[in-house]
Structure formats: C-alpha cells, structure tokens
C-alpha cells in the first residue's frame, strides 16, 4: 500500500464513520424528541454510499430516495446543514422545507431525493441526458432500494437509459426488505440486476458491505458511462441494521439474522482490511474520533440554528416570485 492509497483508504474510513456517527446522532435526537419526522437510517449500508460516491467526480450528479442521509454525506454534503435540514431549521439545505427525505445539495451534486419509492429514477435519466449534452464527461447516479424494482417507472427507466445509452449508473441497494416484507415475497426474480440484462444493460451484483468491491464496480461503470458506453446497473447486497424507520419495532426479522449481518458490518470490515494492510490502531481511532467530532459540531450547529419564519411557508411556491 503506497502513501496515496493509505490516505485514500483512511479518508474512506473516516467518511463511513462520519455517516455512522451522523445516523447514530439522528437516532438519539429523535428518541429525545429533538428532531421529528419520518426518518429512515442507513446504518449498515455505508459501504454502498461511500464506495459509490468516492468513485464519482465532484461534478457528477446523485439522486437518492427516502434513505439518503448517507448518500448526501458521501457526496460531500455538509453534515451540519444536513442535520439542520432534518431538524427543520432555516439553516438547512432546503431552509427546513424538505426534511429528511427530500435533501438537495446542489453544491455537491445531490440533485434530489424522494419519499416516493423509485421516484427519482426517471429524474436521473434526465440529468444523464443533460450530462451527455453538455459534454463535460459528467454522469448521473441514482440510489434506490430493492423495493423499487417492482415499480413500473423503474422498468421504463431501464429501457430508455439503455435505448439512448445515457450516462447513468443505477445503484440498487438490495437490503433484502421493503418495509417489513422480504424481497422474496415481492418478486420471483432473485437477482434484481437481471432486469437490466433484459434491456442489454451491463450489470453486476456485488457485496455491498465491501466498500472496495462497490468502489471497483462503480469505477468501471463510471468509465463506461463517461466514454459513451451507456448505463450500468450495480446491485449491492447489503442490510439495514436498524428498523425501516426510527420507531419500527422490527418484529419481522429474526434476531439471529440481524446479528449475522452485524458481523458483516461494512465499517468494521473495512477496519479489518486496513489492519491487514498495516494501518495502526491509532490511525483508525483518529479517523473515528474526527468523524464523531465533526458530527458533534453539526449537532451544536443544527440545534442552535433559528427556525424559519412562518411566512416562509408561502414563499418559493413558484420560481421567480
């Protein structure tokens, strides 16, 4: 491992820790009633968010879904403004109007997320079209869950992306469940990437808890997209370690299943990889420490931030007002 790689790996780790610490804080603040809303945390899925976004360029576009805090942070969003948004403050990315499921951070290419399952998949095609037309080699990436694989617009989007060879990457975070139901009860298709195959789209299924595997698959997909080779479908097999939403009693999963996946925790796994590569315990600890400090600071910022004024509710309904 050369120095550059070592630095890169530590930075990947730190980013995963930032997301983990952020989500843990959100959970804590929610439990204390300091933030409200319908919150879907991505604890356990950090490998997909970081592995993907770190294989992208800063000027690439990313679209998310309802479980997208991690995507925004991985793409470079400021945790403080993100948390302020989730807490409904005027200092949030969307002035408190969007909330947890509707994050927009255009400065880092997070175009939008959605509360509608599969809702942003068609939007990403539009962004990809723009990327292709502007000719700067940018691409669009969209994250969605396995549940979105059964939604009609998902299929319409695969067809059009392939037909028009759009520079877009479909990242399916297959965490095995849609709300409280396992994938097998929703479809006979066991490998969701096969849907891309139908439309002649290159596709791959990777271990989503292996950040380097995700990163590798996305790098290849991004190269293909940038060079005019069209879309790629990357299915990442992963697991959410918390409930579907904060407050979900989670009775639909066996505890043994959850603990099995805890053993495959993407953050701990990556620590293991680094250990093998000779990175010292002090260095991991520092990465975690810095991440947690950054999140603590975000909490201080968000909770001290002012609320939007009531008149804001009427503003920005139409552009140009």
């Amino acid at each position: 491992m050369d120095e550059a790689e070592r630095k890169e790996f530590l930075s990947l780790l730190q980013l995963m820790w930032t997301i983990r610490a952020f989500e843990e804080k959100v959970s804590e603040l929610y439990a204390k009633g300091q933030v409200v809303g319908l919150l879907h945390l991505g604890i356990g899925q950090e490998g997909v968010a970081v592995g993907t976004c770190r294989a992208l360029r800063a000027d690439d576009y990313v679209f998310g879904g309802h479980r997208s805090h991690a995507h925004a942070i991985a793409k470079g969003a400021d945790p403080a403004r993100l948390l302020a948004e989730i807490a409904g403050r005027a200092a949030g990315y969307c002035r408190g109007k969007g909330g947890s499921m509707h994050l927009v951070a255009m400065d880092v290419g997070c175009v939008t997320a959605t509360g509608v399952v599969g809702g942003t998949i068609p939007l990403a095609l539009g962004a990809a079209l723009v990327c292709r037309e502007t000719g700067k080699g940018q691409i669009a990436t969209v994250f969605f869950g396995d549940g979105a694989g059964q939604v009609g617009p998902f299929h319409e989007s695969l067809n059009i992306a392939s037909l028009w060879k759009l520079p877009v990457i479909f990242v399916c975070e297959n965490n095995g469940y849609a709300e409280f139901t396992p994938l097998s009860a929703h479809t006979l298709v066991s490998r969701l990437a096969d849907h891309a195959g139908t439309y002649n789209m290159p596709n791959v299924t990777v271990d989503g808890n292996d950040i380097l595997a995700v990163r590798g698959a996305i790098q290849e997909a991004a190269e293909r997209a940038r060079s005019g080779g069209g879309p790629t479908f990357v299915e990442c097999l992963t697991y959410r370690l918390r409930g579907h939403y904060e407050g979900d009693p989670g009775k639909y999963r066996e505890l043994s299943e959850v603990s099995e996946w805890k053993d495959k925790d993407p953050v701990a796994r990556f620590v293991g990889v680094l250990k093998e590569k000779g990175v010292s315990a002090g260095e991991f600890a520092a990465a975690e420490q810095q991440a947690r400090e950054r999140v603590d600071e975000a909490v201080r910022f968000a909770l001290a931030a002012p609320w939007p004024s009531a008149e804001e509710v009427r503003q920005q309904v139409f552009a140009g007002d």
Partner: protein, 340 residues
C-alpha cells in the same frame, strides 16, 4: 400451417377471418364516403393471430383488448351490426354508443373492457385472472396488446404479480412493428424497446415465453392452446409474441385502403397480384396465406372460397346498413350510467 382441426372447424375459422377483413374494409369505405366516426385503428393483417387465438376461448374465459379491437371482437363471434353501430355511436351499439371504437365491450362474449390507454388493460386482465383464481372458475384471462404496451411500467408490475401469484392469464402480444417506420433493422425488436427479444421481458419473472409467426394460424393456435391449458390448470401465466407485419394502409389515425379491398383470387392467381405492394399480397397478408393453405391441403376449392367471401361481404354490408339506420342515442343518455 393450418391449425390441426377438422375441415368444418377450419372453414368456420376462415369465415371468421373473412368477416374480420371485410368488416374493416367496409368501415374504411364508409368513412371515406363522408360518414365521420372519429379516429380508429384496424386489425387488417393480424387476422391469423386473432381468429385462432380467440376461437379457443370458452364461456368461462375473459378477454381484454386495446384500441385495435374490432378484429378481436369479431373473432370471438361479435355481431358485426352491433359492433358497427357502436363504432358509429348509435344507441343499438354494444355499449349504447358510449364506448365507440376504442372502448367496445361485449360482456356476453367475455370482453370485459377495451382500453385505449396503451398497456392499460394489462393490470385489468391480471386482476380478472386473480378473480378467476380466487373464485375457482377455472377460466383464464386473455390479454391482447401491441408491442408498444411493453414500454409501459405497469406491464412489469403485472408480470411480476402474475408470476408471483401464479395467475391464469395469457399475455398475447401482437408485435406488428415489423417494417414500421423508425425501426432499426437487426438491432432491437422494436425501435423503442432496448431488448433484443420481446420474450426477455417476461422470462426473468419465470414466465414461459414463446414467439410465433402471427400470420401462421396453425402456430398461433398451437401456442395459445398450450398456454390456455396451462393457465386453466393453475400453473400460471404465459407470454406469447405473435409477429405480424404492418399493413401498408395502417395509419396512426385514418387508415387508407392502399392495397385495395382484398381480392382472394390473388391467393391462387399470381397474375392477379398488382405490382404495387406485391410483397404484401405475396407474403405478408395472413388471410391470403390461410387461403393458400386451404387450397393446398384441398380443404376448399376456389369456388367455395369465393362463396364464403360473398357471404362475409353480405353480412358486413348488412351490418353497415343496420348501423346507419339505427337511431342515435337520446341526449339524456349521456348522463346515465355514470354511477352503477
């Protein structure tokens, strides 16, 4: 090839095809004479798919179809007069003039509805299959649609559910896009679907899928028979692609009789084939193909064929007269049947 059927049955099938063909020719002719019925879509060229496929349905089965439905209704035995009257918006039509060409239904023939929304009937037919299964009717649901419908997302939602719940539904896709403008030859199966084969849209769900030549009545008959048997046994859905050619006169809105009214003599007399659209008459027109097959297998003579044709034409002329003479619905009827 001819369907494996006794002569009587084959001739019945042939008569049905002739009624289908002559009906739409009459319709086009009437509309050219100044009678306005709104825009409509014709089934000309697809008779060898619809006639054998729908002849296999029984009283427990249901059918759902699209904007291109005249042929399907007639294939199932609809009365040409009531159908023509419906297309003309008359009170005597199948739906009292409220459905029109795009929405004709005939409940007694198992036609539950006809949707002009591309792909719209696919969930409905899947639902009818669900009801058939739950009510243990042992009937199947037949869903007819064009290749364009496969571009709609609901198709996948439906395939997924039909497979997951093993529903008795036959998805019969009439792919009439061969030779349609805009198609990239040899690349994809349609200019707007990025799949090399339409079958690959169904196979990931574990739905058995076959492709047949839609102008080959025997092949269609065999495939549909097998699919229906499977569905009725509760073994789940089947997807069939029937490939046909686009009739030259087919226009998105106003069809034109570019190939003239069908001259069945062209089936046996090559000299009767005009230069223009010769390919159509020689190879692509399924009705002529079926005629040739009947002659070749000696199931009918040219005289018998012409006689059957005269009958079909007469029935349709009568249908036109019936429709023209029928009363318009009363204006108040527009407000009736909004709620059941």
């Amino acid at each position: 090839m001819l369907p494996k059927l006794p002569r009587e049955k084959l001739l019945d099938l042939y008569k049905t095809m002739l009624v289908m063909r002559r009906f739409e020719e009459a319709l086009i002719r009437v509309t050219k004479s100044g009678i306005s019925v709104g825009h409509f879509h014709v089934y000309i060229g697809q008779e060898c798919t619809g006639a054998p496929a729908l002849s296999l349905l029984g009283s427990r089965d249901t059918v759902f179809t699209t904007h291109r439905n005249h042929g399907h209704l007639l294939a199932r035995g609809a009365d040409p007069g009531k159908l023509m009257a419906e297309i003309f918006g008359k009170a005597t039509g199948y739906n009292k003039g409220k459905g029109g060409t795009l929405h004709t239904t005939a409940g007694e023939l198992g036609f539950l509805t006809t949707s002009a929304i591309v792909g719209g009937v696919i969930p409905l037919a899947t639902g009818a299959a669900f009801a058939a299964k739950e009510r243990k009717t042992r009937g199947a649901s037949m869903c007819l649609f064009g290749d364009g419908a496969l571009e709609e997302g609901v198709v996948h939602e439906s395939f997924n559910l039909a497979a997951l719940w093993s529903l008795p539904v036959v998805y019969l896709c009439e792919n009439n896009s061969f030779g349609a403008p805009g198609q990239k030859a040899g690349e994809y199966s349609s200019s707007t679907i990025a799949a090399r084969s339409l079958l690959s849209l169904a196979t990931p769900y574990g739905i058995p899928a076959v492709s047949v030549d839609g102008t080959d009545a025997g092949a269609v008959h065999q495939a549909v028979q097998k699919a229906l048997a499977r569905a009725r046994k509760g073994q789940g859905p089947v997807f069939i692609e029937a490939k046909t050619f686009r009739w030259p006169g087919s226009r998105p809105v106003w069809p034109e009789l570019l190939t003239g009214e069908t001259d069945l003599k062209r089936a046996w007399d090559l000299k009767a084939i005009p230069k223009q659209y010769a390919d159509w008459h020689r190879k692509k027109d399924g009705v002529l193909r079926f005629t040739r097959e009947l002659l070749k297998s000696r199931r009918a003579t040219p005289e018998e064929i012409l006689e059957m044709d005269r009958e079909a034409q007469a029935r349709n002329e009568q249908a036109v007269r019936f429709a023209l003479d029928s009363p318009e619905p009363k204006p108040e009827a527009a407000l009736e049947d909004v709620f059941a």
